[in-house]
Symmetry: C2
Subunit: 368 residues, 2 copies
């Protein structure tokens, strides 16, 4: 069985590494002329594609895959629609399309009565400010990730400055939602797998800590999360995945406000906040994504103890002496650039105190 993945980054790499043991074969679609495909070196053929290229030629060059999947949502959905003529595509193109546009996401959530922060779409910034009152957060509908294309506006002067900036730009860049600033307690994410037949397996709710918009650390299960909160997250997840007729791993990011969950965004793929599952769960998210899209029974998502992850961002490969008995290094073999996600370290421990001690010890060793 062969799986073609759109994208040549670390998520594709880790999907392939999870599937090769099972005897699955992989090929990769380089759909945006990415010059650096070192992440997937040796793991399968890389085939370039650009709009206008024949889908039959692409399908043949990929080795006639049995299923096509994605490692990202920011892509030309026509590629997925074109390949659907040859084999199943999971998640389906419509699901990817919804998740690549914040406004579409909001319409879906509104339809399902799933709460998110109050928002305004399609209005000038000053009208948004009036309707929501300041501070508010402006988020581009597309290409917003790792804190990019987001602006927190606190004063009328900041609103005017951004209005002026947008005025000179392409319409797509001016396509945004304005969102009420939510004074949330913390951010968590629900990562779950849904099989083609509708079966679901949920990982425990994960707490995520960001720095300048980029995920820095995850801890699972989210410390102190009540059963009620966990169930609420799973209910929202199930309702979204079912509505999208989704197959694969789906991630939903939430703001936690007391016992309330507000959806921040959806990711139709394996997710950085699920990387800890490589150490902490009986089946990692990468394996379960593959199981979900190929019709293999979903793997157990049981965990013993607690787990965590520290992202390695813009830093040289850590010395192997920083590894302990309870940590695992995942290095993506990318060239080092500031702000770039280059790897992560997973941690496992018997309890949260020990986990945090291990994680902060490692983080200190990176800075020192």
């Amino acid at each position: 069985m062969r799986i073609a993945i759109v994208g040549c980054g670390q998520l594709s790499r880790m999907l392939a590494l999870a599937g090769i043991p099972m005897g699955l074969k992989f090929s990769f679609i380089n759909d945006n002329a990415q010059p650096d495909t070192t992440c997937v070196d040796g793991l399968g053929k890389v085939v370039a594609w650009q709009p206008g290229d024949e889908f039959s030629a692409l399908y043949a060059a990929l080795g006639e895959p049995d299923v096509v999947t994605v490692e990202k949502e920011q892509m030309n959905v026509e590629l997925l629609i074109g390949l659907q003529a040859f084999c199943p595509v999971h998640p389906n193109p419509d699901a990817v399309k919804v998740c690549q546009d914040r406004h579409q996401e909001r319409l879906l959530l509104d339809k399902l009565n799933i709460p998110c922060a109050g928002y305004v779409y399609g209005e000038p910034l000053d009208v948004c400010a009036e309707k929501l009152s300041l501070p508010m957060v402006i988020k581009s509908c597309r290409d917003g990730y790792d804190g990019k294309n987001q602006w927190v506006l606190k004063t009328p002067a900041e609103v005017m400055a951004l209005e002026a900036e947008f005025a000179g730009q392409q319409p797509l860049n001016r396509d945004y939602i304005a969102e009420q600033f939510v004074p949330f307690d913390r951010e968590v994410s629900q990562v779950s797998a849904r099989a083609v037949n509708g079966d679901m397996r949920h990982y425990p709710l994960t707490e995520n800590r960001h720095d300048k918009g980029i995920l820095k650390q995850s801890i699972a299960p989210a410390p102190g999360a009540s059963d009620q909160l966990q169930q609420l997250a799973q209910q929202h997840m199930a309702s979204i995945a079912s509505e999208l007729d989704y197959a694969g791993v789906l991630a939903v990011e939430f703001f936690v406000c007391g016992e309330q969950l507000l959806v921040n965004e959806l990711a139709p793929r394996v997710h950085n906040s699920g990387h800890w599952t490589q150490s902490g769960s009986d089946s990692c998210q990468f394996e379960n994504h593959l199981r979900a899209i190929t019709g293999i029974a979903l793997g157990s998502t049981a965990m013993s103890g607690v787990a965590g992850m520290v992202n390695l961002i813009g830093t040289e490969k850590p010395a192997l002496s920083t590894l302990t008995a309870d940590s695992k290094l995942h290095w993506y073999d990318k060239s080092v650039r500031p702000g770039r996600k280059l790897g992560h370290m997973n941690f496992k421990a018997a309890n949260t105190d020990l986990l945090l001690a291990g994680m902060s010890g490692f983080s200190r060793s990176l800075e020192g």
Copy 2:
């Protein structure tokens, strides 16, 4: 960091798959003109070597590895000695040499006062029969694995028949030990990792079930094994590994007779009876072998629940529908031949009853 492995089989494959996530690089030495190296396709360069070839050219072709290791003991040790001029070799050539010869193994065990079945070396078969009394087991000193080159002799007629068979053969084939037949309760193995600095981590004692000399199933921890038996196995392991100045994963197979352990044989490498660690342990034997030989802190060998493995021998790849939430397929991508180890299925469960139910359900599905 680059690691070169002697051998291109499934153990090399699984070592590489355990190391690639850490950013380790691999190359493989095809030292016996093995035509089928599909196991390691894509995982690193394969370099052929035969006696007489220059070691400096080999070392360069391998990409100047930082350390050399092995996936097997039946090999020309001159290869390891030759490469030692360029980089560390773990386990060391002397250790491999001892483990590739049953008589050398026995001399080592005798020196360490570690019990094994009574044996005779260097005597004609009829003398052995007289000294040990029948039944006895004849085991070639070299090239004995998976039940090959072993003979159980129960009657004087069988002794004479084998004597006649040996008479026409090369001296090496007639190099054997004769061993008392041990009416053992079961076979178990101890798999442990020893780091370059002497640190050790032990996996729980594993029970192994064979069919026609080939390992068919493993279960860990060995059901009902007392703490005392576990400690005894670890003591023997530690004493052997220390005496050999060993770095890497070492496996010791034992016969269990009541609360006594008799060493059957040693394997200076990751071992089939440790494959369950991929599912059942915080760190699998492949990762710990790499950690041990590269100076990375050994990974935790803690396990939750129980784990087992079923070998896939001479059979087509099982249908993916045979996978359950608690099983993981490892398929080696070799061509199918009768009697050949082609893959294995790992199982995890909360207790031994559930584990055995899962394993036998799968085994039945293979036969059906």
